[in-house]
Symmetry: D2
Subunit: 321 residues, 4 copies
């Protein structure tokens, strides 16, 4: 059983799922589907949290969490990013289709995060590259976009609470009440558990944004309940907590020790520790070396640049004809 | 009389005033007051547009336009900028005092403009440096700020329509309805007529922002009428239209020619041209050399950096004890 | 005759040429050739300064000055920039061919200017985007590049004297002595006389860089004489002096007045002024309004971004197979 | 004994020293001195590598390695940074005094690293903020600086090999031969073993820069031998290798396990592993999770901004009266 008093934080449902022993199909209330597009090398994982029991086990609300993984995503290859953007476009289109019943739905893209802190700037940079159209309706008359098969697209960078003095939800509630989009697409930088995921994974979900997620750590709830319109969230992990690094290492170590002939006894001994003992051990390991530090790769500037391009192109591909 | 069909654009009331012949005191419905703080070398000009007649003559709405001018403002001298910030603080405090009757008014600072185009980034950079406090009320309970003699300060960078697909007024209406500030302070980069004013002049006004003002040229109305709360505008000119440069040159030239013995006849001849003739002449001068180009000084990055610091410090000085 | 005591500065030979009355073919020691590539809309002007007399008249050293002009150069259109880059590549290749007799010449690209002042950052940004190869020779052995038909390409951003405390020529002399390139290609931001040229003109010359040219105004001599290797200079105007704007306006005005029936007398009167009188007049016009200010377009960030890409692609196209 | 076939990289001598068991005083050829300035909370550690034996044990050349540590260094507090800068100034002054026998030595500050990759941009940003003076000697005559008690200070950002195609040593050799400084001060971003050191430690050494050090990982030798003048290196760790994180964790774990009653056997069992077994274990732990990734804190932009200011002020304090 998972020790709920010691949480290694991850915003990725797929990592939460992996943290369970066995092949994981057995969690009550959670279903898993994996497939791969061999042509473009993207691995898909769809985690569905089906009920309250699943939600509790996973520490995430009910809904669909789709993950696209591709190692090259963190590398600079424009053609490859175009391909990913096309795949992403297909998934965004289908997700919007499931959530909004209306053709030509009007969409508000929200770039969460702090544009001055690079690993948290993914959302703001996506909005910077967005081809918005909603103002054309105001300039040339209602129906202008529909007649030209254009989406009614708007975008906003609400900033972070420490810079605005306002909760993001307050700002968005006001803007939504005034501009009446049919659906919100929120872009956010995420925290992962594994360094390997940084910049190689895109998560799409129909559950919106939940308290405590995201790089800045203090997002509040952005959901259909809080905003009044369905909220799709698109996120890419750009930081890993050092606690996660330690936890993963311990975990890998236990498994490794079990495979090592000479240390066989040690691994099983540790495995036999209760979760309380493991917790105590890890806390001791954590202090004072790490605290609550997050880390990010040194080429984060380039990474965020590329990924924000890929996501904005994915949104364009999903909406523009 | 001023030729209304040929407008040389300036966002500064003081320049509009200067464009009138004579010492200008004579315009119906406009009053002028000038003074200087010799200690710190700041020149003050207060233009009051008193009635509809004044508003029509000036092409600006009724209200108070206070200008602080200081040549060193564009130079890098931290001590000097501190002094200007103190002066500015006093003026902002008094302006807020006149507009809001309440102690501990809550204030929303709006950074207008496009943070990616340097001469238009003044507003966004002021908000980046703002010490907001409103969220403390939400975290520690209402009355937290008042008990500590802190202002209730929030800030937002709404972006420009071409990036958001929404009118700035729409975004602000929504945010204001949701967060209920008592007064809005809008920061904006302005267009001046004279290159000499770039980065050396700060204009404060109680009239809000009016359509067509600002660097991006497509601001819409942000006033008590449109937003429901009083709007103070603080602006600094960062661009000059090339048309203005030409117009000013012609103007100076006429005066110069009149003073030159050898060319006396020419100046008076030109002065005797009707405004239509002058307009035709200038149009010919303008085409095809200039079009509607705006120009900005090469050290604009540094200029906007310094001025945004001075203004944010001015706001802090006005509100924090 | 041109008034040598009052210089309106331009770094473009083509503008210097235009400032002469008549169609200019008549200047002793200067030849002019103009043509147009209609397919891609580029206008070419080649000014050859043939001897000392021409050099004195033009205020520029003997050599070839080739100008590519295209209005769309300042606009954002990637395909169009590719086309310009191809044209530029051809011209650079032919210029290098004329200056260096050796196949597989090794080339040092020098990015002049201050990377922190946007209008002066053209050179540094070109070098940032350069695909250098010279280090491959050091890593994999001499002849590596030649065997793969790669150029031996290196690049440096020497900085400006106020930041380094060294003359650019000193730095380059040292680097050249150590790394032995066959030719230097110096990239520089230029000052133009006409606002219309900003970002729409590329000048190539085989004369190197001369004292007083460039945006920062204090470049020193970078020529075959000073550096020991031939120096090609590629420049794009990014600033205009306000003095140039005034001078041009006066000039246009005189011509305009002559065409205007009602003001006929005035123009000819001014034309009859001696150059000393004109000089005195302009000085009066200049003071105190303008001083030695330079101006630059507000979208200079984007302009420098695009042009640096076009030039680096031009260099790549000229050298890589 | 240390396992030389498995190197956890650190550029800090103080960390190399700490990696030895015991209190470390016992390493042949290495001396250690520690003290603290309680007023300003700076801890000093001086590691002297005295001979070849010490150099081999430490994997670093003979010389003095002085470390200033202060936890608040990574926090934003201008007054505190001023204090650190003063302390640093004293140490730099004394180091220069020991290395150069001449009064008014001329100094070339070299900003190593890539200004476009934030954790590697420390050196370039220090040079950006430097008050150089050497050009005054050229403008106003030799002796100008000495007469005014100014240092003869110059600075250069040579770039990285992948951007220049030249080895940094080549560029510097050329520049030094041409401009004849008495001493080089090289500023570099370093790799540490412990996350806790990121941005909290400044290392000064009289040994110059050695191959394989620095963030970009491919610096080459910059020493008195390679450049002909003494080289002082000032560095701050801005990245940690993930391998280091794992190694540290394993190490801490072994110690922790030994203190835990319930797992006593396990720790001692592991301690009894040979270093080869430990190496095999760690390699397995490392693959495929980490590879050769480096990590950096999310607020690296701000960190590099502050530290580059502190170091440039330290240099100014050491040289200017």
């Amino acid at each position: 059983m998972k020790n709920s008093s010691f949480e290694i934080r991850t915003d990725l449902a797929v990592e939460e799922k992996e943290s369970y022993p066995g092949d994981g199909g057995e969690i009550q209330g959670v279903s898993l589907r994996e497939w791969e597009d061999e042509a473009c090398g993207i691995r898909y994982t769809e985690v569905k949290i089906l009920d309250r029991q699943g939600a509790e086990a996973m520490g995430k609300p009910e809904g669909i969490y789709l993950t696209l993984e591709a190692d090259q995503l963190s590398q600079k290859d424009d053609d490859y990013h175009d391909e990913i953007a096309r795949e992403l476009a297909g998934q965004i289109r289908s997700l919007i289709g499931r959530m909004v019943d209306k053709e030509n739905a009007s969409i508000l893209v929200v770039g969460l995060g702090n544009h001055m802190v690079t690993p948290d700037a993914l959302g703001p940079r996506v909005v910077e590259q967005l081809q918005v159209t909603r103002h054309l309706e105001q300039q040339y008359g209602e129906g202008f976009c529909q007649a030209r098969h254009l989406p009614v697209l708007s975008g906003i960078v609400p900033g972070v609470m420490a810079q605005t003095g306002m909760e993001t939800a307050e700002i968005l509630k006001g803007v939504i009440r005034q501009t009446r989009p049919d659906v919100v697409v929120a872009i956010d930088a995420l925290a992962a558990r594994s360094i390997r995921r940084l910049g190689t994974t895109i998560q799409l979900t129909d559950t919106g944004i939940h308290p405590g997620s995201g790089v800045g750590n203090h997002r509040n709830s952005l959901t259909k309940e809080s905003l009044g319109v369905p909220v799709i969230a698109i996120g890419v992990p750009t930081v890993v907590g050092t606690a996660a690094i330690v936890y993963d290492t311990v975990d890998t170590m236990i498994q490794t020790l079990n495979r090592h002939v000479s240390t066989k006894g040690m691994g099983s001994m540790m495995e036999s520790m209760t979760s309380e003992e493991q917790y105590a051990l890890i806390c001791e390991l954590l202090e004072p070396e790490f605290g609550s530090l997050y880390v990010t790769p040194p080429d984060i500037d380039e990474l965020v640049g590329q990924l924000s391009f890929t996501i904005s192109e994915g949104i364009h591909g999903a909406l523009f004809p």
